[in-house]
């Protein structure tokens, strides 16, 4: 049995190949780290997802709030907070921004004002006037640049903080008519969803050609306690299976699980437009 002497083991570390291997390993590790932290893919610039406010209060109300801030700008209310936010915390930061620096530089030469010159010659006076005019223009430019930078900053702030303002109108939200001021679910949408949930009808019960056009109209009156006071099928569809199914749905919906904000009389139109669109 042969034993490797210690000096030979140590000589491995002195081998130039070992050093190269170590370097390659280090580089690979750094590359992997860079890839995963997203430095190469610019993940840091990814836009923030819009924030939605989900209303978990399952209470039917007359004027529900939307599930997100109102995308329509409220002029009076919005103007005040925006000014405030710009005036106090943002302005000093903007002054130190690098965007402003290159334009602000030309004001520096104005500092060492060569005012106490001993003999002001007439040509020098004119030169001085011109110089002061140039300085004034430069200062004005700097102020304008600063204002532009502030405007940019403000726009960026609006983008990041007021994400809801940039949410497209067709993004789905909690309640379709949520423009009110009450926390809860729209009473109408609540009743609609409850009846729909209780409506069971197999498409195999109906003639396929009738699915797109079949429709019935019912009038339902609910008390504020959520109890069905009366109902009538105003315009039956003429299909016994369809009419029977919606009668069952109404009977199953005779007691809502929540009281309503007030008495409701609803005209409910039952049809299969959505089903027809899916099965087409």
């Amino acid at each position: 049995m042969s034993v490797v002497p210690l000096h030979q083991i140590n000589s491995f570390h002195k081998d130039p190949k070992f050093g190269r291997l170590l370097l390659v390993s280090l580089v690979v590790h750094v590359l992997i780290w860079a890839a995963f932290t997203g430095g190469w893919f610019g993940s840091g610039t990814r836009p923030k997802p819009p924030v939605y406010y989900v209303d978990l209060i399952h209470k039917p109300v007359l004027n529900p709030q939307a599930g997100r801030p109102d995308p329509r700008p409220k002029k009076k209310q919005q103007a005040a907070p925006v000014k405030k936010s710009v005036a106090t915390p943002v302005a000093p930061k903007a002054a130190t921004k690098p965007e402003v620096k290159p334009l602000a530089k030309p004001t520096k030469p104005a500092k060492p004002k060569p005012v106490p010159k001993p003999v002001p010659k007439p040509g020098q006076r004119q030169e001085k006037k011109v110089q002061s005019a140039i300085d004034e223009i430069r200062q004005r430019q700097a102020r304008e640049a600063e204002r532009d930078a502030l405007k940019d900053k403000l726009a960026k702030l609006r983008e990041s903080v007021g994400a809801a303002a940039t949410v497209p109108a067709d993004v789905p939200v909690g309640m379709p008519d949520g423009t009110g001021d009450e926390a809860g679910v729209s009473a109408l949408a609540f009743v609609q969803a409850f009846i729909q949930q209780n409506w069971a009808l197999s498409p195999y019960l109906l003639d396929r050609s009738r699915i797109a056009n079949i429709e019935a109209k019912a009038v339902l009156a609910y008390s504020s306690a959520g109890t069905l006071v009366r109902y009538r099928i105003d315009t039956p569809s003429g299909d016994p299976q369809f009419d029977d199914s919606l009668k069952k749905a109404i009977i199953k919906s005779q007691q809502l699980p929540q009281p309503l904000p007030k008495d409701l009389e609803l005209v409910v139109i039952f049809n299969l437009k959505e089903m027809a669109a899916i099965r087409r």
Binding site: Q196, W199, Y204, I251, K252, V268, L272, K273, E274
Partner: protein, 432 residues
């Protein structure tokens, strides 16, 4: 004074109207597209436990109703004590209990043995309205339990849709189970297979007469593809057409007075009409191409068939009386085996695409083409159930060729025959 009174009355009338102004909402799709059904097992009236009868009835009924696509079964594990109660009258059923489980319909049944006879009673209840929808008593032998279950499934469909189901009918098909391709008959669920021919040759293309008493088929028994007719109950068999060349794809007219078939007695396969005694009455097609696979429209006025007269095989429709022919399919390179639905609105056929056959349906005016099968393998020979709700077909998607059934929209496909033998050319019988 009078004006003031009138104003008060007007306000009294107008105010409640404005307070209760009806708002309109629209519900454009049901929340559930199946009917929740509580399906209980048969209970013995005598208190005896013959679980085999109850289990078999339950299995058949469950499979039939599941195939219909109408129902969502309430989980039997959640059943409460009413499922174990024998009462079959409306006032004996605990409807609130079933409402609690979400059921809208309920099936309950009982059975008892009366000597050698088995008596089964089934009831279908409307849980929401607390009323009996339909019910029937069946008397027979214990071996008839499957037939009773199929009959009750048909009744359930009739009560809910107004049209009887097809579960009591049967399906004919060709199988090589005995080594030769013979004609077989089975239940709609693939059970109780029965061999009908013993030609020890090649039998193909079966079709039922509209009243279901006879089957037409082609056999090579006499070394030529001749058309035979066979009475199902008596087993009597006779040659119907034995012209030289092909005598294939015989289909009896809806009034059972004529048979449309493909003959190649003059060299080129053409569609002919023959009488039920085999005499040629009329030549329907006359073209240089091959014309085959006739299928009658339910009114007996038209025949759909396959022809390559315009190049690739396509489905055409011929008017029996005027002889006018119109092309139905325009897509695909190979369209075959048309089958006219019993309601007359659609025609099922097969089309080869990407080297594979799949089943399609199309309206009889050539619009609204729909593909029904997408799976692997070839799906061929579509034939409609007598109510037009289902399509039976053969496919090799699971390996060996077998008979399958699906709903007319292509959903709910299930295999009916085993994969041990080659089964093809299914034909659905009319209701008996």
């Amino acid at each position: 004074m009078l004006l003031r009174c009138l104003a008060v009355i007007f306000l009294c009338l107008a105010l409640p109207c404005t307070a209760l102004a009806a708002t309109e909402i629209e519900i454009s799709s049901p929340g559930e597209q199946t009917i929740p059904l509580g399906l209980t097992k048969l209970l013995s009236e005598q208190g005896t436990r013959a679980d085999r009868i109850a289990d078999e009835f339950d299995e058949v009924l469950n499979a039939d109703l599941d195939l219909s696509g109408l129902f969502r079964f309430v989980d039997p594990q959640s059943f409460l004590d009413d499922a174990g109660r024998v009462g079959l009258f409306s006032n004996q059923v605990n409807f609130p209990q079933w409402r609690l489980l979400g059921a809208e319909t309920l099936i309950k049944g009982t059975y008892h043995l009366d000597g050698d006879n088995l008596v089964v009673e089934g009831r279908l209840f409307d849980v929401v309205n607390r009323r009996l929808l339909t019910g029937r008593r069946y008397v027979g032998q214990p071996k008839d339990i499957r037939r009773m279950a199929h009959a009750f499934a048909d009744l359930v469909l009739k009560a809910l849709t107004g049209e009887e189901g097809p579960f009591s009918s049967r399906i004919a098909y060709i199988s090589n189970q005995t080594g030769d391709k013979e004609l077989w008959l089975m239940d709609v669920d693939g059970k109780r297979p029965l061999r009908l021919t013993n030609h020890r040759s090649i039998v193909l293309n079966p079709d039922f007469s509209p009243r279901g008493k006879e089957i037409l088929f082609t056999s090579y028994r006499a070394n030529n593809p001749d058309l035979y007719r066979k009475e199902i109950y008596t087993g009597k068999e006779a040659k119907l057409s034995y012209q030289p060349g092909l005598n294939v794809a015989g289909r009896m007219s809806p009034d059972e007075r004529e048979v449309a078939l493909t003959l190649s007695k003059d060299g080129n396969p053409e569609i002919y009409l023959i009488s039920t005694s085999g005499r040629i009455r009329k030549r329907i097609t006359d073209s240089w191409g091959i014309d085959s696979d006739p299928s009658w429209s339910p009114d007996g006025g038209n025949i759909a068939f396959v022809s390559n007269r315009q190049g690739n095989p396509h489905v055409f429709i011929a008017d029996i009386f005027t002889g006018k022919t119109t092309r139905l399919t325009t897509r695909g390179k190979y369209n075959a085996t048309p089958a006219w639905s019993p309601k007359g609105d659609r025609i099922a056929f097969t089309r080869q695409e990407s080297g594979r056959f799949d089943i399609y349906t199309i309206k009889s005016d050539g619009t609204d083409e729909r593909r029904l099968t997408f799976g692997p393998g070839n799906s061929e020979h579509p034939r409609w159930s007598p109510d037009g709700r289902f399509i039976v077909y053969s496919s090799d998607k699971d390996g060996n060729r077998a008979v399958y059934v699906m709903r007319a929209d292509g959903t709910g496909s299930r295999r009916l025959t085993s994969l041990e033998s080659d089964c093809r050319h299914p034909a659905w019988s009319p209701r008996w």
